[in-house]
């Protein structure tokens, strides 16, 4: 669905995309051979790698759950992924994103069969052009599936936004920095594949409830496109494994 005609200061996207058009996507699984599962997901200038290790014995012991395995997500940006170098190691930002990503994936993974273990998901961003947490989630969901971790359904994620009064899909760095009129609003979201539920939702900016409804609908549609690419990459890997 196209955005409704509104009188907005934001009329044209710098890369010529339609308002509801996502950037070119590339996806691949099996990028880290020593891991149990791994994947790369790219939208435009944003690229994420995700690696799954586990289920494996969890240390320290007091973190173990005798009822089921636990999911542990660690998100980080590489020092050279952005213009201003990022110091290696965890930051307040990366810790928070790790946790919301963990919740987004925990909603679909089923670790009941693996008590006392942990499934580690490592997300790293080598190159960033906004939307790193959603790219990371897309890679992570693929890596979990690639590792054969039981999942109730897939997760696909996308950042929808608003520049002044125009709702846009798959926000890039220029758009994130739009300051005119109402400025930029960023709404990363993750949608499950079958039941179409929301497992990640954050918002920064200003938006009316009506606009947010539209944004979520547009996000759901974009996540559908992402899902197709994720499934295709997983199927391709499956054929390669059999050969």
């Amino acid at each position: 669905m196209a955005a409704k005609k509104v009188d907005s200061l934001y009329k044209k996207r710098s890369d010529g995309r339609k308002m509801d058009e996502i950037r070119p996507i590339a996806a691949k699984v099996g990028v880290v051979p020593s891991a149990d599962g791994s994947a790369m997901f790219e939208t435009g200038g944003t690229r994420a790698i995700a690696v799954v290790r586990g289920p494996r014995v969890l240390h320290p012991q007091n973190k173990r759950n005798p009822q089921k395995g636990i999911l542990r997500v660690s998100y980080g940006m590489m020092p050279f992924s952005v213009w201003d170098r990022i110091r290696p190691g965890p930051s307040r930002r990366s810790e928070e994103i790790s946790k919301v990503s963990e919740w987004a994936l925990d909603a679909v993974v089923d670790l009941d069969a693996f008590p006392n273990t942990v499934v580690d998901v490592f997300i790293q961003i080598p190159q960033a052009d906004a939307g790193t947490r959603v790219a990371g989630l897309n890679a992570a969901a693929m890596a979990l599936a690639h590792a054969g971790i039981p999942m109730k359904e897939m997760v696909s994620a996308m950042a929808v936004g608003k520049a002044d009064k125009t709702i846009i899909v798959d926000v890039d760095k220029d758009e994130e920095d739009f300051h005119d009129g109402e400025g930029a609003t960023d709404i990363p979201m993750a949608i499950t594949s079958r039941t179409k539920k929301i497992t990640l939702l954050q918002l920064d900016g200003k938006i009316s409830t009506e606009e947010l409804k539209t944004a979520i609908e547009m996000g759901k549609k974009a996540c559908g496109d992402v899902l197709e690419v994720q499934m295709k990459a997983l199927k391709e890997a499956n054929t390669e494994d059999k050969e």
């Binding site: 891991a35 791994s38 290790r53 020092p79 992924s81 290696p88 190691g89 080598p126 190159q127």
Partner: protein, 273 residues
Amino acid sequence: MSNHIMPTLQKKRIIEHITSGKRFDGRKMDEFRDIVVEKAISKNAESAISLKLGKTHVYAGVKMAVTTPYPDSQDEGTFMTTAELHPMASSRFDIGRPGIEAIELARVIDRGIRESGFIDFKKLCIKEGEKVYQVFLDIIAINDDGNLFDAAGIAALIALGQARLPVYNEETEKIEHEFSKNPLPLNKEALSFNTTFHKIGNQIVIDPSVEEQAVSDFRLGIAIGEGNKKCRITAMQKGKEGAIDTEDMEKILNLTEEVYSKKYAEIKKLVFD
């Protein structure tokens, strides 16, 4: 890289096999795996590259900033190397503060580059005593299939060789959000790359797998460069508890000559082309 858990039987088997002159992947004792490089993996970096040595995979990137010089070198740029042995690369690595392996790796690479004079620090001075360029070299392990030391060392050189300076605005005295066409000033003839020799059984092995390096008695890393068209050593670091006897040292130095004649031209091409 030693804390690899391995059953005694497996260890014994590897040592026996190598002593009989064979490696499990069929390589010769002094044979490197193929190097595959992908350049420009981050558009936001002065340079960022991906290097695969067989299945061992590392990223290396260069970022630059402007800073005040150190008191003892007022007319020279500064340089910092970090290495992250990320848990994505191997189940041996943990998240959090860098362990001794990562610290040693970063320090060996930093020293090798700094002391060889590869970077022309004087040319990184903007205004003596006030403003100099700061060079950050960041290395991240993506997949560990052995010999991260040499993979990371070569990746570091290529990242530096591919780096371009950001645009410096003399009026605002700040870096613009833009790259120039000027390369990072390097002394090309000072190029030297690290090769690690492992003693396993009665053999000296180059470019070990994870299993091979886990059972070695000692390792000796040698930075191999060129002087007067001949092999020149610019840095060394011995690792692990085993001791080097005269015969081993002789063998390693002969192999060093061999590695120089086989590899120097290839690596020079990867770094500067």
